[in-house]
Amino acid sequence: MAEIAIKGIAKRFGGFTALHQVDLTISDQEFMVLLGASGCGKTTLLRIVAGLERPSQGEVWIGGRRVDHLPPRERGIAMVFQNYAVFPHLTVFENIAFGLRMKKLPQQEVERRVNRTAELMHIEQLLKRYSGQLSGGQRQRVAVARALAMEPDVILMDEPLSNLDALLRLEMRAELKGVLAASKTTTIYVTHDQVEAMSLADRIAVMHQGRIVQAASPVEVYRNPAARFVGSFIGNPPMNFIPATKAANDSWTVAGLTLPGPRSDKQKLEFAIRPEDVDAGGEGLHATVRVVEPLGPHTLVTCDVAGGLFRAILDSNASVQVGDDLRLAPKPDRIRWFDPETANAL
Protein backbone atom coordinates (compact mmCIF):
# COMPACT_ATOMS: atom_id res chain seq x y z
CA MET A 1 0.00 0.00 0.00
CA ALA A 2 1.52 3.28 -1.04
CA GLU A 3 -0.80 6.20 -1.17
CA ILE A 4 1.02 9.46 -1.77
CA ALA A 5 -0.22 12.63 -0.14
CA ILE A 6 1.20 16.00 -1.01
CA LYS A 7 0.04 18.55 1.52
CA GLY A 8 0.53 22.28 1.05
CA ILE A 9 3.85 21.93 -0.73
CA ALA A 10 5.47 25.21 -1.70
CA LYS A 11 8.89 25.76 -3.23
CA ARG A 12 10.68 29.04 -3.62
CA PHE A 13 13.97 29.54 -5.42
CA GLY A 14 15.18 32.91 -4.17
CA GLY A 15 12.47 35.36 -5.17
CA PHE A 16 10.85 32.97 -7.63
CA THR A 17 7.99 30.79 -6.44
CA ALA A 18 8.02 27.53 -8.35
CA LEU A 19 5.18 25.91 -6.43
CA HIS A 20 2.33 27.57 -4.52
CA GLN A 21 0.68 25.46 -1.83
CA VAL A 22 0.14 22.33 -3.88
CA ASP A 23 -2.19 19.64 -2.55
CA LEU A 24 -2.59 16.31 -4.28
CA THR A 25 -3.47 12.80 -3.17
CA ILE A 26 -2.55 9.81 -5.32
CA SER A 27 -4.18 6.56 -4.37
CA ASP A 28 -2.43 3.22 -4.13
CA GLN A 29 -1.53 1.79 -7.56
CA GLU A 30 -2.82 4.86 -9.31
CA PHE A 31 -1.06 6.19 -12.40
CA MET A 32 -0.92 9.95 -11.93
CA VAL A 33 0.43 12.17 -14.67
CA LEU A 34 1.65 15.67 -13.91
CA LEU A 35 1.05 17.58 -17.11
CA GLY A 36 2.09 21.10 -17.93
CA ALA A 37 4.23 23.34 -20.08
CA SER A 38 7.91 23.68 -19.22
CA GLY A 39 8.47 25.79 -16.14
CA CYS A 40 5.09 25.01 -14.57
CA GLY A 41 6.72 23.27 -11.60
CA LYS A 42 5.85 19.66 -12.44
CA THR A 43 9.44 18.41 -12.33
CA THR A 44 10.09 20.35 -9.12
CA LEU A 45 7.07 18.69 -7.52
CA LEU A 46 8.29 15.26 -8.61
CA ARG A 47 11.77 15.95 -7.26
CA ILE A 48 10.26 17.02 -3.95
CA VAL A 49 8.40 13.71 -3.74
CA ALA A 50 11.66 11.93 -4.62
CA GLY A 51 13.59 13.86 -1.99
CA LEU A 52 16.02 15.36 -4.48
CA GLU A 53 14.63 18.79 -3.65
CA ARG A 54 13.53 20.15 -0.29
CA PRO A 55 10.15 21.88 -0.12
CA SER A 56 10.07 25.39 1.34
CA GLN A 57 6.97 24.29 3.21
CA GLY A 58 4.42 21.49 3.27
CA GLU A 59 4.47 17.75 3.81
CA VAL A 60 4.93 14.65 1.70
CA TRP A 61 3.44 11.37 2.90
CA ILE A 62 4.09 8.01 1.25
CA GLY A 63 2.22 4.95 2.47
CA GLY A 64 1.06 6.68 5.62
CA ARG A 65 4.57 7.77 6.56
CA ARG A 66 5.77 11.35 6.52
CA VAL A 67 8.88 11.42 4.33
CA ASP A 68 9.75 15.01 3.54
CA HIS A 69 12.63 15.02 6.04
CA LEU A 70 14.00 11.66 4.80
CA PRO A 71 16.72 11.20 2.18
CA PRO A 72 15.54 9.63 -1.12
CA ARG A 73 16.91 6.20 -0.23
CA GLU A 74 14.63 5.90 2.78
CA ARG A 75 11.43 6.72 0.92
CA GLY A 76 10.80 3.39 -0.81
CA ILE A 77 10.79 4.91 -4.27
CA ALA A 78 12.46 4.23 -7.59
CA MET A 79 12.90 6.76 -10.33
CA VAL A 80 13.38 6.95 -14.08
CA PHE A 81 15.28 10.04 -15.16
CA GLN A 82 14.76 12.12 -18.26
CA ASN A 83 18.24 11.41 -19.59
CA TYR A 84 18.19 7.90 -18.13
CA ALA A 85 21.26 8.31 -15.86
CA VAL A 86 22.41 4.81 -16.76
CA PHE A 87 25.87 4.52 -15.18
CA PRO A 88 28.51 4.44 -17.94
CA HIS A 89 31.05 2.50 -15.88
CA LEU A 90 28.73 -0.40 -15.13
CA THR A 91 27.33 -3.09 -17.37
CA VAL A 92 23.61 -3.25 -18.01
CA PHE A 93 23.40 -6.07 -15.46
CA GLU A 94 25.14 -4.04 -12.77
CA ASN A 95 23.06 -0.99 -13.62
CA ILE A 96 19.83 -2.90 -13.05
CA ALA A 97 21.36 -4.52 -9.96
CA PHE A 98 22.56 -1.19 -8.52
CA GLY A 99 19.70 -0.61 -6.12
CA LEU A 100 19.60 -4.29 -5.12
CA ARG A 101 23.31 -4.25 -4.29
CA MET A 102 22.75 -1.16 -2.14
CA LYS A 103 20.08 -3.13 -0.28
CA LYS A 104 22.65 -5.93 0.11
CA LEU A 105 20.35 -8.59 -1.31
CA PRO A 106 21.91 -12.05 -1.76
CA GLN A 107 23.52 -12.62 -5.16
CA GLN A 108 20.93 -15.25 -6.10
CA GLU A 109 18.06 -12.83 -5.51
CA VAL A 110 19.88 -10.07 -7.39
CA GLU A 111 20.31 -12.34 -10.39
CA ARG A 112 16.72 -13.48 -10.26
CA ARG A 113 15.35 -9.94 -10.18
CA VAL A 114 17.73 -8.57 -12.82
CA ASN A 115 16.92 -11.41 -15.19
CA ARG A 116 13.21 -11.08 -14.61
CA THR A 117 13.06 -7.32 -15.21
CA ALA A 118 15.48 -7.54 -18.13
CA GLU A 119 13.16 -10.07 -19.71
CA LEU A 120 10.18 -7.86 -19.00
CA MET A 121 11.86 -4.96 -20.77
CA HIS A 122 13.25 -7.18 -23.56
CA ILE A 123 16.89 -6.39 -22.87
CA GLU A 124 18.08 -9.78 -21.65
CA GLN A 125 20.53 -10.00 -24.55
CA LEU A 126 22.17 -6.69 -23.53
CA LEU A 127 23.10 -7.54 -19.94
CA LYS A 128 26.85 -7.66 -20.56
CA ARG A 129 27.01 -4.42 -22.49
CA TYR A 130 27.91 -0.94 -21.30
CA SER A 131 25.71 2.12 -21.62
CA GLY A 132 27.98 3.51 -24.36
CA GLN A 133 27.09 0.53 -26.55
CA LEU A 134 23.33 1.08 -26.31
CA SER A 135 20.87 3.15 -28.32
CA GLY A 136 18.67 5.74 -26.64
CA GLY A 137 15.71 3.39 -26.59
CA GLN A 138 17.76 0.60 -25.05
CA ARG A 139 19.11 2.93 -22.36
CA GLN A 140 15.54 3.90 -21.60
CA ARG A 141 14.68 0.26 -21.13
CA VAL A 142 17.62 -0.21 -18.79
CA ALA A 143 16.50 2.80 -16.74
CA VAL A 144 12.99 1.39 -16.41
CA ALA A 145 14.30 -2.09 -15.61
CA ARG A 146 16.53 -0.62 -12.88
CA ALA A 147 13.48 0.99 -11.32
CA LEU A 148 11.28 -2.11 -11.63
CA ALA A 149 13.96 -4.40 -10.17
CA MET A 150 13.59 -2.54 -6.88
CA GLU A 151 9.98 -3.74 -6.72
CA PRO A 152 9.19 -0.34 -5.25
CA ASP A 153 5.89 0.91 -3.88
CA VAL A 154 6.29 4.08 -5.90
CA ILE A 155 7.87 4.78 -9.28
CA LEU A 156 8.59 8.35 -10.26
CA MET A 157 9.14 9.15 -13.91
CA ASP A 158 10.51 12.43 -15.16
CA GLU A 159 9.69 12.84 -18.86
CA PRO A 160 11.04 9.35 -19.54
CA LEU A 161 10.04 9.28 -23.20
CA SER A 162 10.94 12.82 -24.22
CA ASN A 163 14.39 11.90 -25.59
CA LEU A 164 13.09 9.14 -27.84
CA ASP A 165 12.08 9.56 -31.46
CA ALA A 166 8.38 9.60 -32.25
CA LEU A 167 7.96 6.01 -33.33
CA LEU A 168 9.91 4.59 -30.41
CA ARG A 169 7.96 6.81 -28.03
CA LEU A 170 4.69 5.33 -29.20
CA GLU A 171 6.01 1.81 -28.75
CA MET A 172 7.47 2.47 -25.30
CA ARG A 173 4.33 4.26 -24.17
CA ALA A 174 2.16 1.23 -24.74
CA GLU A 175 4.77 -1.03 -23.18
CA LEU A 176 5.19 1.14 -20.09
CA LYS A 177 1.48 1.18 -19.50
CA GLY A 178 1.30 -2.61 -19.54
CA VAL A 179 4.41 -3.14 -17.43
CA LEU A 180 3.47 -0.59 -14.79
CA ALA A 181 -0.10 -1.83 -14.51
CA ALA A 182 1.26 -5.34 -13.95
CA SER A 183 3.77 -4.17 -11.35
CA LYS A 184 1.02 -2.68 -9.17
CA THR A 185 3.07 0.34 -8.16
CA THR A 186 1.85 3.83 -7.58
CA THR A 187 3.25 5.95 -10.37
CA ILE A 188 3.84 9.66 -10.76
CA TYR A 189 4.73 10.49 -14.30
CA VAL A 190 5.80 13.94 -15.46
CA THR A 191 5.30 15.00 -19.04
CA HIS A 192 4.57 18.00 -21.21
CA ASP A 193 3.06 15.78 -23.88
CA GLN A 194 -0.73 15.74 -23.56
CA VAL A 195 -1.17 12.67 -25.75
CA GLU A 196 1.21 10.77 -23.49
CA ALA A 197 -0.73 12.02 -20.49
CA MET A 198 -4.13 11.10 -21.91
CA SER A 199 -3.03 7.64 -22.96
CA LEU A 200 -1.22 6.64 -19.76
CA ALA A 201 -2.98 8.31 -16.89
CA ASP A 202 -5.62 7.13 -14.49
CA ARG A 203 -5.73 10.75 -13.47
CA ILE A 204 -4.06 13.84 -14.88
CA ALA A 205 -2.99 16.76 -12.72
CA VAL A 206 -2.73 19.74 -15.02
CA MET A 207 -0.21 22.24 -13.70
CA HIS A 208 0.14 25.89 -14.56
CA GLN A 209 2.45 28.47 -13.02
CA GLY A 210 3.18 26.44 -9.91
CA ARG A 211 -0.38 25.36 -9.21
CA ILE A 212 -2.47 22.31 -9.94
CA VAL A 213 -5.34 23.64 -11.98
CA GLN A 214 -7.26 20.40 -12.29
CA ALA A 215 -6.72 16.81 -11.23
CA ALA A 216 -9.16 14.42 -12.82
CA SER A 217 -9.48 11.52 -15.23
CA PRO A 218 -8.27 12.14 -18.79
CA VAL A 219 -11.80 12.22 -20.18
CA GLU A 220 -12.98 14.57 -17.46
CA VAL A 221 -10.02 16.91 -18.00
CA TYR A 222 -10.75 16.90 -21.73
CA ARG A 223 -14.52 17.25 -21.55
CA ASN A 224 -14.89 19.48 -18.54
CA PRO A 225 -11.83 21.65 -18.15
CA ALA A 226 -11.93 23.32 -14.75
CA ALA A 227 -10.19 26.39 -16.06
CA ARG A 228 -9.68 28.17 -19.32
CA PHE A 229 -6.00 27.19 -19.26
CA VAL A 230 -6.85 23.49 -19.25
CA GLY A 231 -9.11 23.87 -22.26
CA SER A 232 -6.53 25.88 -24.15
CA PHE A 233 -3.66 23.53 -23.23
CA ILE A 234 -5.26 20.14 -23.74
CA GLY A 235 -6.62 19.08 -27.08
CA ASN A 236 -5.05 19.45 -30.46
CA PRO A 237 -6.29 21.80 -31.74
CA PRO A 238 -7.34 23.30 -28.39
CA MET A 239 -10.76 24.55 -27.33
CA ASN A 240 -12.31 27.56 -29.07
CA PHE A 241 -13.20 30.55 -26.92
CA ILE A 242 -15.66 33.30 -27.89
CA PRO A 243 -16.76 36.23 -25.69
CA ALA A 244 -20.42 36.12 -24.75
CA THR A 245 -22.70 38.90 -23.50
CA LYS A 246 -25.84 38.56 -21.46
CA ALA A 247 -29.02 38.45 -23.52
CA ALA A 248 -31.56 37.49 -20.86
CA ASN A 249 -31.40 35.92 -17.44
CA ASP A 250 -30.18 32.55 -18.67
CA SER A 251 -29.32 33.11 -22.27
CA TRP A 252 -26.19 34.57 -23.84
CA THR A 253 -25.27 36.15 -27.15
CA VAL A 254 -22.28 34.49 -28.77
CA ALA A 255 -21.13 35.99 -32.09
CA GLY A 256 -24.67 36.99 -32.92
CA LEU A 257 -26.18 33.70 -31.87
CA THR A 258 -28.32 33.45 -28.76
CA LEU A 259 -27.67 30.34 -26.72
CA PRO A 260 -29.09 29.10 -23.44
CA GLY A 261 -26.48 29.32 -20.73
CA PRO A 262 -25.92 29.47 -17.02
CA ARG A 263 -27.66 31.93 -14.75
CA SER A 264 -25.15 34.51 -13.65
CA ASP A 265 -25.13 38.09 -12.48
CA LYS A 266 -22.07 38.70 -14.68
CA GLN A 267 -22.59 40.74 -17.84
CA LYS A 268 -19.87 38.95 -19.81
CA LEU A 269 -18.88 35.30 -20.01
CA GLU A 270 -16.70 33.23 -22.27
CA PHE A 271 -18.24 30.57 -24.45
CA ALA A 272 -16.07 27.54 -25.20
CA ILE A 273 -16.43 24.55 -27.49
CA ARG A 274 -14.08 21.81 -28.70
CA PRO A 275 -13.38 21.85 -32.46
CA GLU A 276 -15.01 18.46 -32.97
CA ASP A 277 -18.18 19.48 -31.14
CA VAL A 278 -19.70 21.60 -33.91
CA ASP A 279 -21.86 20.54 -36.82
CA ALA A 280 -21.86 22.33 -40.13
CA GLY A 281 -25.22 23.57 -41.37
CA GLY A 282 -28.44 24.60 -39.71
CA GLU A 283 -28.62 27.29 -37.08
CA GLY A 284 -25.13 28.19 -35.92
CA LEU A 285 -22.19 30.56 -35.63
CA HIS A 286 -21.33 32.57 -38.71
CA ALA A 287 -17.90 31.42 -39.84
CA THR A 288 -15.76 32.44 -42.79
CA VAL A 289 -13.35 29.72 -43.85
CA ARG A 290 -9.69 30.79 -43.94
CA VAL A 291 -7.74 27.51 -44.16
CA VAL A 292 -8.84 23.97 -45.00
CA GLU A 293 -6.62 21.07 -43.93
CA PRO A 294 -7.82 17.60 -45.00
CA LEU A 295 -6.22 15.21 -42.50
CA GLY A 296 -7.65 11.91 -43.70
CA PRO A 297 -10.12 10.80 -41.04
CA HIS A 298 -11.47 14.35 -40.80
CA THR A 299 -10.96 17.84 -42.10
CA LEU A 300 -9.57 20.63 -39.97
CA VAL A 301 -11.09 23.99 -40.87
CA THR A 302 -9.75 27.27 -39.54
CA CYS A 303 -12.37 30.01 -39.69
CA ASP A 304 -13.05 33.52 -38.66
CA VAL A 305 -15.88 33.85 -36.13
CA ALA A 306 -16.76 37.32 -34.88
CA GLY A 307 -13.25 38.52 -35.67
CA GLY A 308 -11.58 35.67 -33.73
CA LEU A 309 -9.88 32.45 -34.76
CA PHE A 310 -12.10 29.38 -34.58
CA ARG A 311 -11.14 25.83 -35.44
CA ALA A 312 -13.61 23.15 -36.37
CA ILE A 313 -13.09 19.49 -37.11
CA LEU A 314 -15.56 18.45 -39.80
CA ASP A 315 -16.38 15.21 -41.50
CA SER A 316 -13.91 14.45 -44.27
CA ASN A 317 -16.82 14.26 -46.72
CA ALA A 318 -17.74 17.91 -46.15
CA SER A 319 -16.87 19.94 -49.22
CA VAL A 320 -15.51 23.17 -47.82
CA GLN A 321 -13.60 25.83 -49.75
CA VAL A 322 -11.57 28.75 -48.55
CA GLY A 323 -13.83 31.81 -48.47
CA ASP A 324 -17.01 29.81 -47.83
CA ASP A 325 -19.46 31.08 -45.27
CA LEU A 326 -20.39 28.31 -42.88
CA ARG A 327 -22.92 27.88 -40.14
CA LEU A 328 -21.34 25.96 -37.27
CA ALA A 329 -23.84 24.65 -34.75
CA PRO A 330 -22.30 23.84 -31.33
CA LYS A 331 -23.56 20.62 -29.74
CA PRO A 332 -25.57 21.92 -26.79
CA ASP A 333 -24.32 19.35 -24.23
CA ARG A 334 -20.66 20.13 -25.08
CA ILE A 335 -20.78 23.87 -24.60
CA ARG A 336 -18.71 25.12 -21.65
CA TRP A 337 -18.80 28.54 -20.01
CA PHE A 338 -15.91 30.34 -18.31
CA ASP A 339 -15.80 33.40 -16.12
CA PRO A 340 -13.49 35.82 -17.97
CA GLU A 341 -12.29 37.35 -14.68
CA THR A 342 -11.29 34.22 -12.77
CA ALA A 343 -10.80 32.05 -15.89
CA ASN A 344 -12.64 29.27 -14.04
CA ALA A 345 -15.42 27.13 -15.45
CA LEU A 346 -19.00 27.86 -14.44
Partner: protein, 281 residues
Protein backbone atom coordinates in the same frame (compact mmCIF):
# COMPACT_ATOMS: atom_id res chain seq x y z
CA UNK B 1 48.15 27.43 -49.35
CA UNK B 2 47.23 23.77 -49.28
CA UNK B 3 44.63 23.25 -46.54
CA UNK B 4 46.00 19.95 -45.31
CA UNK B 5 49.53 21.22 -44.83
CA UNK B 6 48.52 24.21 -42.74
CA UNK B 7 48.10 22.47 -39.35
CA UNK B 8 51.47 20.79 -39.70
CA UNK B 9 53.06 24.06 -40.69
CA UNK B 10 51.59 25.72 -37.62
CA UNK B 11 52.91 22.94 -35.41
CA UNK B 12 56.36 23.21 -36.93
CA UNK B 13 57.85 25.93 -34.68
CA UNK B 14 56.86 24.13 -31.49
CA UNK B 15 58.09 20.81 -32.86
CA UNK B 16 61.42 22.33 -33.86
CA UNK B 17 61.73 23.98 -30.47
CA UNK B 18 61.14 20.67 -28.70
CA UNK B 19 63.56 18.84 -30.97
CA UNK B 20 66.37 21.36 -30.45
CA UNK B 21 65.93 22.00 -26.74
CA UNK B 22 64.56 18.67 -25.57
CA UNK B 23 65.14 15.70 -27.85
CA UNK B 24 68.69 16.70 -28.83
CA UNK B 25 69.93 17.28 -25.25
CA UNK B 26 68.11 14.15 -24.18
CA UNK B 27 69.97 12.15 -26.85
CA UNK B 28 73.22 13.70 -25.66
CA UNK B 29 72.54 12.76 -22.04
CA UNK B 30 71.54 9.23 -23.03
CA UNK B 31 74.69 8.96 -25.07
CA UNK B 32 76.85 10.23 -22.21
CA UNK B 33 75.26 7.78 -19.83
CA UNK B 34 76.33 4.75 -21.84
CA UNK B 35 79.79 5.90 -22.93
CA UNK B 36 83.03 6.87 -21.30
CA UNK B 37 85.84 8.48 -23.30
CA UNK B 38 83.96 7.73 -26.47
CA UNK B 39 83.61 3.97 -25.90
CA UNK B 40 80.34 2.18 -25.11
CA UNK B 41 80.16 0.98 -21.50
CA UNK B 42 77.78 0.35 -18.61
CA UNK B 43 80.43 1.44 -16.11
CA UNK B 44 78.57 4.68 -15.38
CA UNK B 45 75.59 2.74 -14.07
CA UNK B 46 77.90 0.47 -12.08
CA UNK B 47 79.66 3.45 -10.54
CA UNK B 48 76.30 5.01 -9.66
CA UNK B 49 74.91 1.84 -8.11
CA UNK B 50 78.20 1.07 -6.38
CA UNK B 51 78.29 4.34 -4.46
CA UNK B 52 77.64 3.80 -0.73
CA UNK B 53 75.00 6.53 -0.88
CA UNK B 54 72.99 4.88 -3.66
CA UNK B 55 70.83 2.47 -1.63
CA UNK B 56 70.04 5.20 0.91
CA UNK B 57 69.17 7.58 -1.90
CA UNK B 58 66.82 5.16 -3.58
CA UNK B 59 65.24 4.21 -0.25
CA UNK B 60 64.66 7.83 0.75
CA UNK B 61 63.19 8.78 -2.61
CA UNK B 62 60.88 5.78 -2.83
CA UNK B 63 59.80 6.12 0.79
CA UNK B 64 59.08 9.81 0.34
CA UNK B 65 56.99 9.14 -2.78
CA UNK B 66 55.22 6.19 -1.15
CA UNK B 67 54.21 8.28 1.86
CA UNK B 68 53.61 11.69 0.30
CA UNK B 69 51.61 10.68 -2.79
CA UNK B 70 48.88 8.60 -1.04
CA UNK B 71 48.43 11.30 1.62
CA UNK B 72 48.20 13.93 -1.10
CA UNK B 73 45.76 11.83 -3.09
CA UNK B 74 43.49 11.36 -0.09
CA UNK B 75 43.64 15.02 0.86
CA UNK B 76 43.15 16.15 -2.74
CA UNK B 77 40.07 13.91 -3.09
CA UNK B 78 38.67 15.25 0.16
CA UNK B 79 39.37 18.87 -0.73
CA UNK B 80 38.04 18.43 -4.27
CA UNK B 81 34.82 16.85 -2.94
CA UNK B 82 34.31 19.75 -0.56
CA UNK B 83 35.13 22.39 -3.16
CA UNK B 84 32.92 20.74 -5.79
CA UNK B 85 29.98 20.79 -3.43
CA UNK B 86 30.34 24.49 -2.59
CA UNK B 87 27.63 26.63 -4.08
CA UNK B 88 29.21 29.97 -3.33
CA UNK B 89 32.83 30.89 -2.79
CA UNK B 90 34.06 28.00 -4.86
CA UNK B 91 36.41 30.18 -6.86
CA UNK B 92 37.78 31.79 -3.70
CA UNK B 93 38.37 28.41 -2.05
CA UNK B 94 40.19 27.16 -5.14
CA UNK B 95 42.43 30.23 -5.17
CA UNK B 96 43.32 29.85 -1.51
CA UNK B 97 44.10 26.15 -1.91
CA UNK B 98 46.15 26.90 -5.00
CA UNK B 99 48.39 29.56 -3.42
CA UNK B 100 51.27 27.13 -2.69
CA UNK B 101 51.30 26.26 -6.39
CA UNK B 102 52.52 29.74 -7.21
CA UNK B 103 55.59 29.37 -5.01
CA UNK B 104 58.79 27.80 -6.30
CA UNK B 105 59.82 24.59 -4.59
CA UNK B 106 62.98 26.15 -3.18
CA UNK B 107 60.97 29.01 -1.69
CA UNK B 108 58.56 26.45 -0.25
CA UNK B 109 61.51 24.63 1.31
CA UNK B 110 62.75 27.90 2.80
CA UNK B 111 59.34 28.70 4.27
CA UNK B 112 59.31 25.38 6.09
CA UNK B 113 62.93 25.90 7.08
CA UNK B 114 61.82 29.16 8.70
CA UNK B 115 59.32 27.12 10.71
CA UNK B 116 61.58 24.23 11.78
CA UNK B 117 64.85 26.12 12.10
CA UNK B 118 66.59 26.39 15.48
CA UNK B 119 65.46 30.02 15.75
CA UNK B 120 62.32 29.38 13.71
CA UNK B 121 58.63 29.92 14.33
CA UNK B 122 58.00 26.51 15.88
CA UNK B 123 60.76 26.92 18.48
CA UNK B 124 59.57 30.46 19.25
CA UNK B 125 56.01 29.27 19.70
CA UNK B 126 56.95 26.29 21.84
CA UNK B 127 59.21 28.32 24.13
CA UNK B 128 56.68 31.14 24.49
CA UNK B 129 54.13 28.50 25.51
CA UNK B 130 56.68 27.20 27.99
CA UNK B 131 56.78 23.73 26.46
CA UNK B 132 60.55 23.90 25.97
CA UNK B 133 63.18 25.96 27.79
CA UNK B 134 65.75 26.08 25.02
CA UNK B 135 65.50 25.77 21.24
CA UNK B 136 65.30 22.27 19.82
CA UNK B 137 67.37 21.38 16.79
CA UNK B 138 64.67 19.78 14.62
CA UNK B 139 66.70 19.51 11.44
CA UNK B 140 70.10 18.41 12.76
CA UNK B 141 71.98 15.52 11.18
CA UNK B 142 71.02 13.25 14.09
CA UNK B 143 67.29 13.72 13.55
CA UNK B 144 66.79 12.16 10.14
CA UNK B 145 63.20 11.24 10.95
CA UNK B 146 62.28 14.85 11.74
CA UNK B 147 63.90 15.97 8.52
CA UNK B 148 61.93 13.35 6.66
CA UNK B 149 58.69 14.47 8.29
CA UNK B 150 59.48 18.12 7.57
CA UNK B 151 60.19 17.35 3.92
CA UNK B 152 57.00 15.28 3.64
CA UNK B 153 55.00 18.10 5.22
CA UNK B 154 56.49 20.69 2.90
CA UNK B 155 55.82 18.50 -0.13
CA UNK B 156 52.24 17.87 0.94
CA UNK B 157 51.69 21.55 1.59
CA UNK B 158 53.26 22.54 -1.70
CA UNK B 159 51.91 20.09 -4.24
CA UNK B 160 48.53 18.78 -3.05
CA UNK B 161 46.74 21.64 -4.76
CA UNK B 162 47.82 20.57 -8.25
CA UNK B 163 46.14 17.22 -7.72
CA UNK B 164 43.09 18.91 -6.26
CA UNK B 165 42.75 21.26 -9.23
CA UNK B 166 42.84 18.31 -11.64
CA UNK B 167 40.30 16.37 -9.56
CA UNK B 168 37.95 19.35 -9.20
CA UNK B 169 37.96 19.70 -12.98
CA UNK B 170 37.29 15.97 -13.32
CA UNK B 171 34.44 16.02 -10.80
CA UNK B 172 32.88 18.91 -12.69
CA UNK B 173 32.60 16.63 -15.72
CA UNK B 174 30.50 14.01 -13.92
CA UNK B 175 26.81 14.70 -14.67
CA UNK B 176 24.72 15.40 -11.60
CA UNK B 177 22.06 12.85 -12.58
CA UNK B 178 24.38 9.98 -11.78
CA UNK B 179 24.54 11.11 -8.17
CA UNK B 180 20.80 11.62 -8.04
CA UNK B 181 20.18 8.18 -9.52
CA UNK B 182 22.59 6.62 -7.01
CA UNK B 183 20.90 8.52 -4.19
CA UNK B 184 17.42 7.39 -5.20
CA UNK B 185 18.59 3.81 -5.58
CA UNK B 186 19.86 3.70 -2.05
CA UNK B 187 23.50 4.79 -2.05
CA UNK B 188 24.75 6.60 1.05
CA UNK B 189 27.11 9.57 0.53
CA UNK B 190 30.12 7.28 1.02
CA UNK B 191 28.72 4.69 -1.40
CA UNK B 192 28.08 7.44 -3.93
CA UNK B 193 31.71 8.48 -3.60
CA UNK B 194 33.04 4.94 -3.97
CA UNK B 195 30.59 3.65 -6.57
CA UNK B 196 30.04 6.73 -8.70
CA UNK B 197 32.67 9.42 -8.13
CA UNK B 198 35.79 7.26 -8.02
CA UNK B 199 35.06 5.11 -11.09
CA UNK B 200 33.95 8.08 -13.16
CA UNK B 201 36.93 10.10 -11.96
CA UNK B 202 39.44 7.56 -13.22
CA UNK B 203 40.78 9.62 -16.14
CA UNK B 204 41.46 12.57 -13.83
CA UNK B 205 42.88 10.32 -11.11
CA UNK B 206 45.22 8.88 -13.68
CA UNK B 207 46.50 12.30 -14.73
CA UNK B 208 46.84 13.55 -11.17
CA UNK B 209 48.65 10.47 -9.87
CA UNK B 210 51.04 10.21 -12.79
CA UNK B 211 51.91 13.88 -12.55
CA UNK B 212 52.47 13.70 -8.80
CA UNK B 213 54.50 10.49 -8.89
CA UNK B 214 56.82 11.90 -11.54
CA UNK B 215 57.26 15.07 -9.50
CA UNK B 216 57.82 13.03 -6.35
CA UNK B 217 60.76 11.20 -7.91
CA UNK B 218 62.19 14.52 -8.99
CA UNK B 219 62.02 16.02 -5.50
CA UNK B 220 65.09 18.15 -4.93
CA UNK B 221 64.89 21.78 -3.82
CA UNK B 222 62.66 21.20 -0.78
CA UNK B 223 64.99 18.44 0.41
CA UNK B 224 68.04 20.60 -0.21
CA UNK B 225 66.56 23.48 1.76
CA UNK B 226 65.40 21.42 4.74
CA UNK B 227 67.89 18.58 4.90
CA UNK B 228 70.96 19.71 3.01
CA UNK B 229 72.88 16.48 2.46
CA UNK B 230 71.34 14.75 5.47
CA UNK B 231 68.52 13.28 3.44
CA UNK B 232 70.03 12.26 0.10
CA UNK B 233 67.52 11.73 -2.72
CA UNK B 234 67.95 10.64 -6.34
CA UNK B 235 67.78 14.07 -7.90
CA UNK B 236 70.17 15.47 -5.30
CA UNK B 237 72.65 12.72 -6.09
CA UNK B 238 72.39 13.46 -9.79
CA UNK B 239 73.21 17.07 -8.97
CA UNK B 240 76.12 15.91 -6.83
CA UNK B 241 77.62 13.76 -9.56
CA UNK B 242 77.35 16.61 -12.02
CA UNK B 243 78.55 19.56 -9.97
CA UNK B 244 80.33 18.30 -6.85
CA UNK B 245 82.01 15.21 -8.26
CA UNK B 246 82.22 16.66 -11.79
CA UNK B 247 81.33 13.34 -13.44
CA UNK B 248 78.84 14.10 -16.20
CA UNK B 249 78.62 10.49 -17.36
CA UNK B 250 77.48 9.12 -14.01
CA UNK B 251 75.18 12.14 -13.58
CA UNK B 252 73.66 11.29 -16.96
CA UNK B 253 73.21 7.67 -15.89
CA UNK B 254 71.52 8.83 -12.69
CA UNK B 255 69.19 11.12 -14.65
CA UNK B 256 68.29 8.23 -16.93
CA UNK B 257 67.42 6.11 -13.91
CA UNK B 258 64.94 8.77 -12.71
CA UNK B 259 63.47 8.87 -16.21
CA UNK B 260 63.15 5.09 -16.28
CA UNK B 261 61.35 5.07 -12.92
CA UNK B 262 59.00 7.83 -14.11
CA UNK B 263 58.20 5.98 -17.32
CA UNK B 264 57.65 2.72 -15.44
CA UNK B 265 55.17 4.35 -13.04
CA UNK B 266 53.42 6.19 -15.85
CA UNK B 267 52.88 2.96 -17.77
CA UNK B 268 51.75 1.23 -14.58
CA UNK B 269 49.09 3.81 -13.77
CA UNK B 270 47.98 4.10 -17.39
CA UNK B 271 47.32 0.40 -17.30
CA UNK B 272 45.78 0.11 -13.83
CA UNK B 273 43.46 3.09 -14.15
CA UNK B 274 42.58 2.48 -17.77
CA UNK B 275 38.92 3.05 -18.66
CA UNK B 276 37.66 0.67 -21.36
CA UNK B 277 36.41 2.60 -24.37
CA UNK B 278 32.85 1.33 -24.03
CA UNK B 279 32.66 2.37 -20.36
CA UNK B 280 33.49 6.05 -20.89
CA UNK B 281 31.02 8.81 -20.12
Amino acid sequence: MHGKALPYLLLMPATLFLCIFFLYPFALVAFEAVTRDGAFTLDNFRTMAGSWKFPVTVRNTVLLAAIVVPIQLTMALLMASVVSRLETGRGAALYVFAIPLGISDLAAGLIWLAIFDQSGFLNTLLSSLGVIDRPVMFLGYQSKLTIFIAVALAEIWRATAIMMVILVAGMGLIPKEYYEAAEVFGASPWQRFVRVTLPLLRPSLQTAIILRVILAFEVFAVVAALGGTNLPVLMGETYNWQFTLQDRNVAAASALLILAISIAFTLFFLRVLRVPKEARI
